[in-house]
Structures are given as structure tokens and as C-alpha cells.
Symmetry: C2
Amino acid sequence: MKKALEGLKVVDLTSALNGPFCTMMLADYGADVIKIEPVNGDQCREWGPIDEKSGESGFYCYVNRNKKGVTLNLKSEKGKKMFYDLVKDADVVVENYKGGVTTRLGIDYESVKKVNPSIIYASGSGFGQNSPISHRACYDIVAQAMGGMINLTGYKENNPVKVGPSIADHVAGIYLTVGLLIALYNREKTGEGQLVDVSMIDTIFSLLENALVNYTVGGIIPERNGNIDPSIAPFDVYECKDGFVAVGVGNDRLFEKFCKTINHEELLEDPRFTTNDLRCKNYVPDLKNLIGQWCKDYSKKEMEDIMDQAGIPCGPILNVKEAIEHPHIQAREMMVHCEHPTAGDQYFQGCVMKLSETPGSVDTPAPLLGQHNAEIFGLSEEEVKELKQEGVI
Amino acid sequence: MKKALEGLKVVDLTSALNGPFCTMMLADYGADVIKIEPVNGDQCREWGPIDEKSGESGFYCYVNRNKKGVTLNLKSEKGKKMFYDLVKDADVVVENYKGGVTTRLGIDYESVKKVNPSIIYASGSGFGQNSPISHRACYDIVAQAMGGMINLTGYKENNPVKVGPSIADHVAGIYLTVGLLIALYNREKTGEGQLVDVSMIDTIFSLLENALVNYTVGGIIPERNGNIDPSIAPFDVYECKDGFVAVGVGNDRLFEKFCKTINHEELLEDPRFTTNDLRCKNYVPDLKNLIGQWCKDYSKKEMEDIMDQAGIPCGPILNVKEAIEHPHIQAREMMVHCEHPTAGDQYFQGCVMKLSETPGSVDTPAPLLGQHNAEIFGLSEEEVKELKQEGVI
């Protein structure tokens, strides 16, 4: 089946996470992504977990599937020339260096535009290209901190806590994809290229939702509140026999169903719980404790099934293994296999966006270091050898 | 300045959060988004914070800026006919009903395709269109639970905790935008429309990062680990004079700078801390406590400045007010003003993706209920009145 982005040539200067996650999406949906690595490889080739047999990084292979890989020393004149040859007929360049680095290397938007005026140049970084602190290095935890996410996560009685996985990196990569696709759509109409610039701090800040308008409209500075939603009750995570389960009872109709389901119809007569507003005010401690007590007799799976039957939004807190094995994830093909030449069968996340006519898919494994040097640069075996010796590729 | 998506006609059936966040992005970058609300309005018109003067919801107005608004009773035959007139020349339909609802209403992809074969029909939902549990209602907390996020967030010694803001809703909305833009790009080349289907569970599952390959490659089921990264140390959140600060010391070179900065050069000689691997093993309790002790003498702002000077990734844990006022957020124009006809000046998040030639912007406020009925449906004042009386608009 044909893919949506077939024929789109993407020169990929990214490393580690936010940039590669963006170009992974492009590659999954058919773009020709040429990943340029330094001569000694993307740093995340060394990130665990490492496959014992082959020495390949599971993480690197996941996020670089479907791409072709070349090596290039961008500090050498020859390397830079080869880069410019490559971008001449490219549609998109993606990079995620720290602010200022591409300019120092002479591979920034202004430089690339000179050889390819209609290029879409997509930059993902911690602080973006025009912030007073663009020069700073940024880890995911720093973006979660300064973007306002950590302050809103965790229990009141404990210290604030970061979101476990690196959501700043991931979501910045997804936004970068949106930005460059919008720019591509515009180029289809006008022929004009442009610079697309996404910051990890801005990314996190854009996810704060109601917390932000609660301050600008309501004058309240929201703080972390555990699993409780201040405007819906019951809405919480409860401990059950073999773990935890999330339950959300969003309105009076659901509350009635819920009380019947847990055999506590007396709650419907209780003046403390007759409306959602009252339930929010009086949820702690009695209503919370009563529900918590009920849940203790059931397993996660039992809870999921009972609430499903009753039509009440509920989901077990799944660990990675349980999530992978859940019938939903399996039915949605959210886990896929890929055969790697040295590491063998690999098993990792599939494609999120289900397109009925031009679906994404995982077709080829992540490249070995410099695997496509000859093919992409049009070099003979001899030339590859020479350029390697010179430290160019 | 021209916007990238100008001329793109989007019929927007969405309510609450994930769908509206998708169409907000389209509208910010120039698409003509026509938001269809039921006759009594999108439920989130009643979500707090409510502006006291006008009764407008801050949340509704934020996520629906730049859109035009009409009302339509899709259960009435006349209403359905008006919907079909509207989609005949539309480019995109976006909806986020629970799985199965659009089919019952007769406004699903198959039905719309009959009057507009090249339509891009984008569906955002909890469980997607083809899951064994598509019929279930889903809250953000349920997606965070089943997608594997809650299990990975929080401190070991406490219960797991959800991410504060509704990231499943938001990120599913961003993915939906990526999906429909990919489909649009394909349509520019082939003329063909299609269905784009994004699930909130899949969305969360796709963000699990290394946790997933740690299981499939390394055989380890990762659990929550507070603010500590198992593969980098020091990498943590520390309490300081007036709050908390995140610090990430990613390699030996940074560790040397860091030890000098905090006047603890003796650590560089300590055999427990000479490599990152050793630091990871021996971080708790001594290294953690020593750094924690040092931080107590400084404010967040002082810490940020000291670490910036030293070139060490660091960020204060900012609350919403502090994040809004931070020079980075201000310089990036991540907060924008918008004048609302009844609520007056509104102040909310700006546009994340910075496009150099066709930037996004907030130009018009969210619509009043049914504000554009006459304009969009081409109705006289008399006809508007009649259709209102009939309960159609």
C-alpha cells in the first residue's frame, strides 16, 4: 500500500529523543528520512537497554526504525560540502541541537536556504531559537520543571514529582511534526519554505490546561492534587486486591449507576452527595474511604469488567507488561515486530495515527552506523574507505 | 501576514478537550474552523473558571479562540441536512464522540464520504474506532492508567499518581492534528481523502519511551522512581529556600563543573562517584543528601542563575504564575491577549510552533453560542428565528 509521505526527502540531523521522535513519525508514514550521525554515532546508540548479543540499543532501534543512516563529520569542509549536496533537493531538514550550534557549524536555516530556498527547516530545542536563555542545555526534567508540569503533579502531602517518561521530549517532537507539516502544506500552495521552531518549555507550558485559566481568570494559583480532580467527584485512583484502578464518575447519572454497582444506594439519599458540587466538597474523607474499602475486594481485572458492564469510566493502572498484553493495545496493533540484521526480532511501539488509506507501518530496522553511506552519497567501495580514513564519514 | 492553512475549511464537531485542542491549532494557523455545538452548547461552556461578569468559561474561550460557532441539532432531519450542506465543500471534519456515536447519528465517515468523497475525517476518542472496548467512555485519568503512565509516575514509597494536567486529551489532540495533516499532504498529491483515527490510550502508550524497550529488550518491568533517572546521576529535584529546583548532571565533564560550582571538589576524588555508572549506583543516600544540603541555602532564582553561569542544566519548579512571568515564556510570546465581546480582555496560552513566514496567532475570540449561524448557513434574521423555534439551531 502506498504511504502518505512517499517521495518526501528529509535530511535528519537529530540525536537522542525529541528530533528523532519527529523524524520517526515522518518515516513511519513514508518519508525518505536520511539520518546523519557523527562519525562515532548518535549518543543514544549507547543508551540501555543494550541487546546482549549484538550490542544494539533497544531505544536507538525503536526511535530510528524506517530511517536510512549515514555518517558525516560536519566540522570537516568535505563533510559540510556533502551535507550541502544532500540538502539541495531535500524537502525538509530537522535538527535538535542546542540553540546557536547550527549557526556555529554553518548549517543553520539561513545557510541552508542559500542552496535550497524552499527548504522547510525544523528546529527542536529546549528553549527555542529566540529566547533570552536559548543557549542553555535542557533535559526533559528541566522542561517539565520550568514549563509548570512538576508543580502540578504529585500528592499535596509529598514533594512534587516529575512525570515518569520524558513527555517534554516526546511531545515537542510531535509538535515539531505538526509545525513542519503545516509549513509543507503552505509550501504546496505558495512554493515558499520557512523555519519551524519548537521549544520543550513552551511544549510543556501548552499542556497546563485549566490550571492556567484558573489563574488568569479565577486568580487562583493551582497546586498539585494527587489523583483527585477538583471539579469532579468521585474521580480518583483506588487500591484494589492486586494494584490500583482509576475511576471517574462525571455526573449525577453516572453517580447513580455507580452507587448501585457498588451496592451503596444509601449514598444517593445522603445530603452530602446529592450533586457533583457537594460531592467535590465532601469527597474526603468519607466517600473516598467508602469507595476505597469496596475496591479492596476486587482485582484490577474484576474492577475493569464490573465498571465496563455498568458503563462507568474506569481503567486499571497497568504496568508496561500488562499494557502491552491488554486486548486494546493488541487490537490496535500498537506493538509491532521488526527484524534487525544483528539484533534479530525487535518488538516495540507501532504507529499511533490510524490512516484508513495510507497507514503507517514499520518496514525496515534502524540503520547500522553508516549503513547507507555508499547508497546515499553515491560512493564506490574505494571512496567509502578513503573518506573513512580521512575522518569525513 | 498570510497564514499557512488559509482557505482550509474545517467542520468541527468536537467538544470538551482533545478534539477542540486539535481544531484550535488548525484555527491558530489560519484554517476556517466552523465549530458545531448542540443547541444547548458544548458542555465545557460551563466548566470553571467562569468569568463573573459575563458568565463565560475561561477554558472554553481558550480552546475555541479563532473559531466560528454555529448550533445544530444533529438529531433533527433538518439539522442533519444543514450539516451535510456544510461538509459538501469542506476539507476536513473533526469529531471526538465516543466510538459508535457518529454511526448512530448518521454522520460517520462512510456517510460523509458519500457527499464528499475527498473528505479527511479525523476521529479522536478514548479507545479508537476498532478496539474491542471502543464503546467505553474515557476520561483522561483512564487513558493515563491503561496507557501505562500512572504506573511510572510518583515516588516508590507512595502510591502511583497521575500527571496533573490532562495530557492524554492534549497529546491525542496534537496527534490527531499530525494525522490529518499527513492525510492532507497525501490528498494534495492523490486527491484522495481518508479516515484518521487516534485513541487516547494509544497516545499515552506511545510516550512510555525507554520503559517499554526496557521490558521487551531487557526483561525488566520498570516501576515509578520519583524524580530520579536510573541511568543518570545526579539527576533529581532538590528542595531549596523557597521551593524546588531540577538539576541534571549528564556526564563526567558536567559533574566536574558541578562539584566546583557547589564547592565540593572532594567528590571528584571519591571512588564512589568517579563515573556516571558509579554515581547512579551510589547516588542514594550520601550524594543526594549532600547536594540537597547545599541547595537549602539558595533560592530558586539564585540556583537557576548559578547553574546557568556554570553551564549545568537546571530549572526551577515554577507554578503557573511564575511560569507565565518567566522571561522565557514572555520572550516566546507564549501568553497572548484576546478581546472577548462580553468577557473583555482574556489572557491565555499562545502558539507553540513558531513559523518564520506564516506564524500562528490569536485573532478572534471564541464564539458566543450560535454567533455565526446566519453567516455560515446563509440565513436571514427571520429564518434564524424560525429554525431556533423549531429547535434546529
